[in-house]
Subunit: 242 residues, 2 copies
Amino acid sequence: MLAMDGYDKYAHEPFAVTVDLAVFTLREGALHVLLVERGQEPYAGHRALPGGFVQPDESAETAARRELAEETGLSDVSGLHLEQLRTYSEPGRDPRMRVVSVAFAALLPDAPEAHGGSDAARADWVPYGTAGPLAFDHDRILADAHERVGAKLEYTCLATAFCPPEFTLGELQQVYEAVWGTPVDRPNFRRKVLATPGFVEPVPGAARLTGGRGKPAALYRAGNATTLHPPLLRPTPEGRPA
Amino acid sequence: MLAMDGYDKYAHEPFAVTVDLAVFTLREGALHVLLVERGQEPYAGHRALPGGFVQPDESAETAARRELAEETGLSDVSGLHLEQLRTYSEPGRDPRMRVVSVAFAALLPDAPEAHGGSDAARADWVPYGTAGPLAFDHDRILADAHERVGAKLEYTCLATAFCPPEFTLGELQQVYEAVWGTPVDRPNFRRKVLATPGFVEPVPGAARLTGGRGKPAALYRAGNATTLHPPLLRPTPEGRPA
DNA sequence: CCCTTTAATAGTCAGCTCGACTATAAAAGG
DNA sequence: CCTTTTATAGTCGAGCTGACTATTAAAGGG
């Protein structure tokens, strides 16, 4: 607290503060991440997480949401789930200068082809796990984000953030399977979801949706519950969970 | 990513980056927090979380551990649990300048009277909840830290970080009760702890500790497990968990 | 020296949840 | 019409949990 009491005493180079975004969505049942391609050194030609500098009048959260709108091309990102992950501040993480980056995870229901509009942001949806090594420490950030999202599916109702306003239980189950990378037993899944008050609520108009062959599925909307008690644990292949 | 590709193009004031620490310990069964008293404006006379600037060659984690050592007066803080909470970056959070603060939570087993050694750091252990309004946004940070620690007790073996190397199950239970603020059923608690492989392991020398009246309790050490599956949920007074 | 108090440890029992299934219903396609 | 496909319904036993009761081993006071 010495330094805190005497601001004029400290002598150090300033920090640049950025936000980095791990934006996830589901496309055809597979988890995808939004990545940009770097045109300049360092890491020219590598992919990277979208992000940018925090402006003087912004909080990191505000900057993250602004970047999210810019990179996805979506006009309204106000309802999207955006969550601070953690801050990466290793001295050598950017070879050019001292950059402290606040990382966020975001979830999108549908996947519009990115790099929308006129700005030069070139972002693409890439299936999770298929992008080569990313620039800077972005592999680590992305892995942390994936782990966080997977964990939050267990004890929150976050999964509906991946779904359109109306969805079937099968689609909701696909969210879990895509993020966790493991199959989920269908009858047990619907029992758990339907037994949790406020997780989903049926669309009353006896609505149903069809796109494939089988029996049409009932439609549901996201409820107002946020947490899951008890949690919906992902299957562990055996032994101690990580 | 525009700005990321052209560092020389950005023009903005630099940010100061600090760490703030919410350091918890148990004293006589009650949860305490380490707080410093501010001598200068703003918030002169208010208490605040210990913290300080991140130096140019440090990561936030390194800075946090350095501050932890300085403020507690402990010579060895390498084994202590230190965990990044989140980053607070609202533009107006410090009236003097633009400060982005990375918050950490730390857990101490015993509670040496702080402000040790010769340095001017004056830190005191204050029972949690009894300190008036804190400086800056530190009330919010402290509340977030408390919530995080309480949540992690549910699904990790973190509670042993509050205990000395050897402890009784009663002491371990006190950790849960102090952090959660609710009583815990003793037989059920020990059944759960003992049934979780790797949570605690008995000290083989039939050791026992006594300080009070009743039957002496067996001593245990922390095991090597880190997570709790299934979790040890804190009692909910009824209804939806927050 | 006994008896009360205090705290640790052991054990019981019903209810709930979960994983692993099997069975039925309702559509599409040939 | 029959097969395939997918949604939905139901069954059964194991395991965990919450709410208890009982026993054991010490300290302290009369």
